[in-house]
Amino acid sequence: MNPSSILFLLHEGYLNVRRNGLMTFAALGTVAVMLTVLGGSIWSVYRISEYAQHQPQTFNEVDAFMNTSSERDDTLAVMDRVKKLPDASVVHLVTREQAWQDITHQDPTLTESMPDDPLPDKLEIETRDAKNVQHLADLLRDKNAFPELEAVTDAGAEVRMMLAFARLVKLIGGGASLGLFIATMFIVYNTIRLTVFARRREIRIMQLVGATSWFIRIPLLLEGLFHGVVGAAVASIIVLFGGRHIAQFVEQLHSPLIGDVPTQATPLRVAACLILIGSFVGLTGSYLSIHRYLKHV
């Protein structure tokens, strides 16, 4: 295809957009709103899972620390007894050596300054049911039953609630995102269908004078792409602007739960991701629409 043809196709695509005036505007608005809600929910889900990952414990887990003076055999004995408790499902041993190594790996300066390994063996115990975390922790804290244990930690009630909430948001947000994704594609599909209908004379003539099907498709695909990309750009601005305000609000709560969790979702990445989704939706929606029409001619 020569450069002059590319210019011609771009121009035809532009004519589509302009001729459809009001409809282009309506479609763009709808796509932008859809992508804003879609982007907003994907971003919230992502951000909440970042917070959740940042918590030291998952909400159905109890950590039990041995006395530093105890031997490995003691630890294994306690491990056996814990395993027999009805509330416990999986018990995982983190030895003091492993813990030391992990810390060395994460922060060498910290271990360098310590002459010896001061860490105790640790048991990570998963409960069969998140409801029983409190009960299990209380059992392990009983000094008569488990004198070898120095400390027992479980996720506090607030943390547990937040993590449960995060799970709920992920579930609902994930479902809603999928629904919105399909709905956005459907809107582009319909807009392009109207364009195709409005341009049926042009398309008919193109077919009769021997335009290849790609030559017929490209201007319409460009129109779909335009809807997707511009809609996504508008949505990015709204999501990033709204996101900043929410982040500021969360920060000023000074909640110890949330703390300062760094994010991988930089503004550039959020915008790029939305534009990618928008282009995909726009191209696919218009492709399906044209495909259906060209088949029926």
Partner: protein
């Protein structure tokens, strides 16, 4: 099946539904460079035949080859290239109302990937052939029906086709204007293009005295080397023929 002829039909039947076929068991051979009128009463199957020839329709039965392509086996991706060898003209002109005369003709070249300078040259050439150089920037709504049909013919010949198909090209025009259009088609034929015209218009058929193929109820009933519109068989159906 391909042959040296421009058009070859062997035992071609087209059925749209379970009723009587629109074209039945038609045999027809048209050589390169011929000028042929297809005549017959309304509903006879003239438009069906023309649609078959540019593959706007497929045969239900039989063999068909046009411009060297076997239309029963042609791949979908080859159809656009086949169509570039054919110029098509309709009764309703089929011009794009929001493009100018010049743009309408150029459109046919541009959508087949032609460049700007080639387009400029060929559009000018086509406008000269049909005698429409005086108003290239007019919109179709601003010129007469006869002029619109000239523009449509310019668009059909701008790709320099081997074959030109015209379905009732004078159907919406007064007798004088019709005669002008037919003279133009004759001129195009004299420059080497095979021309097929489906028509109800007796005076134009009679004026040229070219080959006439008559269809009645989907069957070819007459094929005269140098014919007139009317004939015994058609005369019986005269009521439906005009």
């Amino acid at each position: 099946m391909t042959s040296g002829a421009m058009i070859e039909l062997k035992g071609v039947t087209v059925s749209y539904s379970a009723d009587a076929p629109a074209l039945k068991n038609a045999d027809l051979c048209i050589e390169r460079g011929e000028f042929v009128f297809i005549v017959g009463p309304t509903g006879a199957g003239k438009s069906t035949l023309l649609r078959l020839l540019y593959r706007g329709e497929k045969v239900t039965e039989g063999a068909i080859s046009v411009a060297g392509y076997d239309l029963n086996t042609i791949a979908n991706k080859d159809v656009p290239y086949f169509r570039r060898k054919i110029g098509i003209v309709f009764q309703d002109y089929g011009l794009l109302p929001n493009k100018t005369v010049w743009e309408n003709i150029a459109f046919a070249l541009r959508v087949t990937g032609a460049g700007r300078s080639e387009t400029r040259r060929k559009v000018q050439d086509a406008l000269e052939k049909v005698g429409m150089t005086h108003r290239p920037d007019a919109l179709p709504g601003e010129i007469s029906g006869g002029e619109q049909q000239r523009v449509a013919i310019a668009r059909a010949i701008v790709n320099e086709p081997d074959l030109m198909l015209a379905d009732e090209p004078t159907g919406n025009l007064d007798p004088d204007t019709s005669m002008g259009i037919v003279q133009l088609l004759k001129f195009i034929n004299e420059r080497g293009t095979t021309v097929l015209v489906a028509t109800h218009d007796a005076p134009i058929v009679d004026s040229l005295q070219k080959r006439v193929v008559a269809i009645v109820d989907g069957s070819i009933v007459r094929d005269d080397e140098r014919g007139l519109y009317r004939h015994q068989i058609l005369a019986g159906k005269k009521g439906g023929a005009n």
